[in-house]
């Protein structure tokens, strides 16, 4: 979108492209999870709630806290990259990565607890949804972790500075989206 009066710099223009591209990608991700959530809402309403089974609220609450904290650290990482603070950026990326690991480890234990009780996706429709939605959410967390790792190495190599830090910002958007899904997922499956 060029204004002949004042041209954006090359970096600013590319940043606009990348941010817009990421928002579009996130829109597609919203639609992806929409199918799962819509199906869950529908089947649960149709059953008048009779499909519901209890889950470990405390583990879920801890995971919620972990993810919200990781969102904070990611935002702080983006801030650091904009200030050109390479060390701080690398630290925040690493902390976000570690928090993501913690999330997945907790989920691993949750899944393990279910399996040891003989509860599998096929056991009943509620657990089918549980494994389906948290499973795909987990895959997205994993993808985010891979991205964070790559960014950490790139930051180490000095790729980012005050002028160019788009990948951090777009990765940040993606990471917040992952947090967003969990913000709805947790009450929908665990709390109500």
């Amino acid at each position: 979108m060029e204004n002949s009066a004042q041209a954006l710099s090359f970096h600013e223009e590319r940043r606009e492209h990348r941010l817009f591209g990421m928002w579009l990608f996130l829109a597609s991700e919203v639609m992806f999870f929409t199918a799962f959530f819509a199906a869950y809402i529908v089947i649960r309403s149709a059953s008048n709630g009779s499909i519901m089974q209890p889950l470990d609220k405390v583990m879920g609450a801890i995971n919620t806290t972990v993810l919200i904290t990781s969102s904070l650290t990611m935002a702080l990482g983006v801030l650091a990259s904009k200030k050109g603070d390479r060390k701080a950026l690398m630290n925040w990326l690493a902390i976000t990565f570690i928090l993501a690991c913690v999330f997945l480890v907790i989920k691993f234990f949750e899944y393990g607890a279910h399996f040891s009780e003989g509860v599998y996706p096929k056991s009943d429709i509620f657990h089918a949804f549980y494994f389906l939605i948290t499973g795909f959410h987990g895959i997205h967390v994993l993808g985010g972790m891979v991205t964070l790792a790559i960014l950490w190495f790139r930051a180490k190599a000095g790729h980012f500075n005050t002028e160019f830090n788009d990948p951090i910002e777009t990765a940040g958007l993606y990471w917040h989206f992952v947090d967003l899904v969990w913000i709805f997922l947790y009450p929908a499956l665990y709390l109500i």
């Binding site: 979108m1 597609s28 639609m31 999870f33 929409t34 199918a35 089947i43 009943d124 429709i125």
Partner: protein
């Protein structure tokens, strides 16, 4: 920069434009080496050709599947010539070399899936879109060249996976392209086992490719237009691609999600779509039940209805461009054309239930979807009238691209009208799942979209390959395809009205269908001739790439920006990013003077400064 072989002389126009250009050079230098030139390319033109060749090959394969289908319909239980004798007892052939019943369902399913996902969408969206969009808007490439290359390399393996499914035990998917459960999600129900899973995986990959491509095109069109290229000066081809890209980004994920849930049912024995108490034969299924088959239909059609707009909108854009160019007249009602496309975008998400009138869903929903579907016929009608208005009083040049474009309009009218019948629930109760439906969608996808694509290929061939296609052969191809296409598909309307069901491997089982057998044979013969006629186009296309008459830069004397680029188009597209001064359809206007056309980028007679105020009104 000036040391490299592809020296580009940057001629600055204004500070803004030189800043714009210098960062375009920044984008990526000219590629070197076979790998970067032809395999993993950051040049949208190369990626478009990758898609083009691949989708044309898949078209031949997908068409072949249809030929086998038509053989079985016309000559049930007769040995298929050549192939049947060679492959009897294997794949989809029965022991006597005829098409087996399970094989028939596989063929039908795969014909649909291959044509929709691996031929039409890659051809009209990825191939044409990739080639044309940057050229139409005056950019040097798409917004994300890396994602572009990745999109192709997701599509190709996906296509190969689809065909690999034929070769695994029990063959490829066989539950219809719509994949309705329980047939599609119970491991023992349909004939397919691993094959169905491979097909679902292939669709997942192709869908991901589609989403990335759509995203790329949206950012490109919105953010990378040349100075002066306002939205109201975009060629309708570009508008068509923009709306299509929105559908791709928003709708395709639903398919991915639905497919994932189906895979869960198949792999982990969950019961999202499996009703309670399901049995196969007399064996209860391992799934515990409690699911809703209807849920799949909602999820699937929420995607698949927007998909049909993906299948038509780019081709509508081509038709508009072609009709204007060969009528030497502006498109009638440009604004209305744009508004109708955007309203199709809005309404297109609200009509999916018209595929489900017979599903047992709530009849009140049936009424709601009838209303919304009738509404969506309106913008299509507007477009048809505007095309006719464009032709009205025109001094038409009946070159082959124009013949294809005219066919687009007329076949679209027929296909669209049959669609109006289906929109009404009471009528659809009768014609659902009959040949009437098959006639409808072949009229819109083959009659409209594919003819529009043939037109696009003959029209943009000079820009893509620097040569002209042979005009006589193109006209011959057009004539034969037109005749055989109508001869094959029009009678299907009557078969459908008479109650002939679709996806029927053995119509001889039903006495009331016996009277229609001669029609089936006739249709099949026409279909075989139709398939053979395509060889003419194939020959013309391949021959002309190497030996066609060399093309001028603007052989059609058209206004849009791609014709201002050299032929063949260099890596950087334009020596200097053009500035746009007018809309794309200024044919036979006063400004053109003696000629009946004036390029979008030609400075106005009064001088550039005089038009400056027009340029900056973005």
């Amino acid at each position: 920069m000036s040391d490299t072989p592809n020296t580009i002389e940057v001629l600055p126009h204004s500070a803004a434009e030189s800043a714009h250009e210098s960062h375009e050079e920044h984008l990526h230098p000219a590629p070197e080496g076979f790998f970067r030139n032809y395999v993993w390319s950051y040049d949208h033109k190369v990626v478009s050709k990758q898609y083009l060749w691949t989708s044309l090959i898949f078209m031949i394969l997908g068409g072949g599947l249809a030929m086998l289908l038509r053989w079985q319909i016309a000559y049930p239980f007769k040995t298929v010539p050549v192939l049947g004798a060679l492959l009897k007892g294997t794949y989809f052939f029965a022991a006597d070399g005829s098409v087996s019943a399970e094989g028939y369902l596989q063929l039908g399913t795969m014909h649909g899936l291959v044509m929709v996902f691996f031929v039409i969408i890659p051809l009209i969206v990825a191939a044409f879109g990739n080639f044309l969009i940057p050229l139409h808007i005056g950019a040097r490439d798409v917004a994300f060249p890396f994602l572009n290359a990745l999109s192709y390399w997701l599509y190709l393996p996906a296509g190969l996976l689809m065909f690999a499914a034929f070769f695994v035990d029990k063959g490829a998917a066989a539950a219809g392209w719509t994949g309705y459960p329980p047939l599609s999600d119970l491991a023992g129900a349909s004939s397919a086992g691993l094959g169905m899973n491979l097909v679902l995986l292939a669709l997942f990959l192709a869908g991901f490719s589609s989403i990335l491509g759509g995203l790329n095109f949206i950012v490109t069109i919105v953010k990378m237009r040349a100075p002066g290229m306002t939205y109201s000066r975009l060629p309708l081809t570009t508008w068509g691609q923009l709306i299509t890209a929105v559908f791709q980004v928003i709708a395709t994920p639903m398919l991915a999600a639905g497919g994932s849930v189906l895979l869960f049912d198949r792999l982990f024995d969950t019961s999202f779509f499996v009703p309670a108490g399901s049995v196969i034969g007399s064996t209860p299924v391992p799934n515990t039940g409690g699911g809703y088959p209807l849920l799949w239909q909602h999820i699937f059609w929420f995607y698949a209805h927007p998909a049909v707009y993906i299948l038509i909108l780019p081709s509508m854009g081509f038709a508009s461009d072609l009709l204007a160019t060969f009528s030497r007249k502006p498109i009638f009602g440009y604004k209305a054309m744009v508004l109708s496309m955007t309203s199709i975008m809005g309404l297109g998400f609200m009509v999916w239930g018209h595929h489900m009138f017979m599903s047992g869903m709530n009849p009140i929903m049936g009424m709601a979807f009838t209303v919304s579907t009738i509404f969506i016929a309106l913008p299509s009608g507007v477009k048809v009238f505007n095309w006719l208005g464009t032709l009205w009083g025109a001094n038409m040049k009946l070159d082959s691209p124009m013949l294809y474009a005219l066919t687009f309009v007329s076949m679209f009218i027929i296909g669209g009208l049959s669609g109006v019948f289906m929109a009404s629930t009471p009528v659809d109760i009768y014609i659902h799942d009959t040949y009437y439906i098959i006639a409808h969608f072949h009229y819109v996808v083959f009659g409209a979209t594919l003819f529009g694509s043939f037109g696009g290929l003959t029209y943009w061939f000079p820009k893509m390959f620097g040569r002209m296609m042979n005009e006589k052969l193109a006209k011959l191809h057009w004539l034969l395809t037109f005749i055989f296409f109508n001869a094959a598909f029009f009678p299907m309307h009557f078969l459908g009205e008479a109650g002939h069901m679709r996806r029927l491997a053995t119509s001889t089982e039903y006495q009331f269908l016996n009277s229609m057998a001669p029609w089936n044979e006739f249709i099949s013969k026409m279909a075989f001739l139709l398939g053979t006629a395509q060889l003419i186009f194939m020959f013309n296309f391949i021959y002309s790439v190497f030996y066609g008459k060399k093309a001028a830069q603007n052989p059609w004397e058209a206004n849009t920006l791609e014709w201002t680029a050299e032929t063949p188009v260099p890596h950087y597209n334009f020596k200097k990013i053009p500035t746009v001064y007018r809309g794309p359809y200024e044919y036979s206007s006063e400004e053109a003077g003696d000629k009946d056309w004036i390029s979008q980028a030609a400075p106005p007679a009064g001088g550039v400064l005089a038009a400056k105020h027009k340029v900056s009104a973005h």
